[in-house]
């Protein structure tokens, strides 16, 4: 008699918790909500612009950089920043990395982007970790094993510069900033 009772009690507890935990956490303000949280590594112009846009769209975002000066623009735009190395133990405690769904490494240093995405891939999942596409990754001399680095975020800066320069040339563009703003 005791065995079925114990089994029933466990089953009811598991089911009850499973269905009520999320709504209760939301009601108590302990849950991050449905919006995906994004961690951007690198306070470059690209990272700052993307962070500011995501923040404007109510997507929780933090930009991290080891260089205080690189975070100035983000701070001026009111985007949350973390000054320090995202790989440090302190950053892990401050940021509570489990809250984040996506990591995008956009620093100017390809090797650092690869290091960050490789190190944090197990925490985020390889599908949710991105880095700027490396300029020479298609060359066999520079190609890395698939276990290193993140998914290529999109064409590297060269592609953007080409697009912008081309449009500037063709479209008589003058007022929306310039390619020099992109690091």
């Amino acid at each position: 008699m005791m065995a079925p009772l114990a089994f029933g009690l466990v089953a009811v507890t598991v089911v009850l918790h499973g269905f009520t935990l999320t709504p209760v956490a939301r009601a108590l303000g302990l849950s991050g909500g449905d919006a995906p949280c994004v961690l951007i590594v690198g306070g470059t112009s690209l990272g700052t612009q993307l962070g500011a846009l995501l923040r404007d769209l109510d997507v929780p975002v933090v930009i991290s950089d080891t260089n205080h000066r690189n975070l100035r623009s983000a701070r001026n735009l009111g985007v949350p920043v973390l000054y320090g190395d995202v790989l440090s133990e302190a950053a892990e405690h401050i940021l509570e990395l489990h809250r984040y769904d996506h990591l995008i490494a956009l620093s100017e240093n390809e090797a650092y982007n690869t290091l960050v995405t490789t190190d944090l891939a197990p925490e985020f999942g390889r599908n949710n970790i991105f880095q700027l596409r490396r300029d020479r990754e298609h060359s066999s001399r520079y190609e890395l094993p698939s276990t290193l680095g993140g998914r290529a975020f999109f064409w590297g800066m060269k592609r953007i510069l080409v697009v912008w320069t081309k449009s500037c040339w063709i479209g008589g563009w003058s007022s929306h900033g310039s390619a020099r703003n992109i690091h």
Binding site: D34, A35, P36, V38, Q49, L50, L53, L54, D56, L57, D58, V59, D101, H102, I104, F130, R151, A152, F153, F154, W155, R159, I160, V163, W164, K166, S167, C168, I170, G171, G172, W173, S175, H176
Partner: protein, 74 residues
């Protein structure tokens, strides 16, 4: 970088027509699901979806002047 909202009156095809040079960086749908560039190969038009893209200013071509008011968000 620009955010454009897709709607029935300003669908994805229209954006691509107005801004052929656009480099799409991410999309955010109405349920706040974020998709980043590598997952956008099969981008489909969905009402209310917001597209983050790198785009130069609109051309002077009068036929390519972007979406209606409140479509381009930032």
């Amino acid at each position: 970088m620009v955010v454009t909202r897709i709607s029935a009156e300003y669908p994805l095809e229209r954006i691509q027509h107005d801004r052929p040079e656009a480099v799409i960086v991410a999309t955010l749908d109405e349920k706040a699901r974020l998709k980043l560039a590598p997952d956008l190969e099969k981008l489909t038009s969905a009402d209310g979806m917001r597209i983050l893209h790198f785009s130069p200013p609109l051309s002077t071509d009068p036929d390519r002047q972007g979406g209606p008011k409140d479509t381009i968000l930032h």
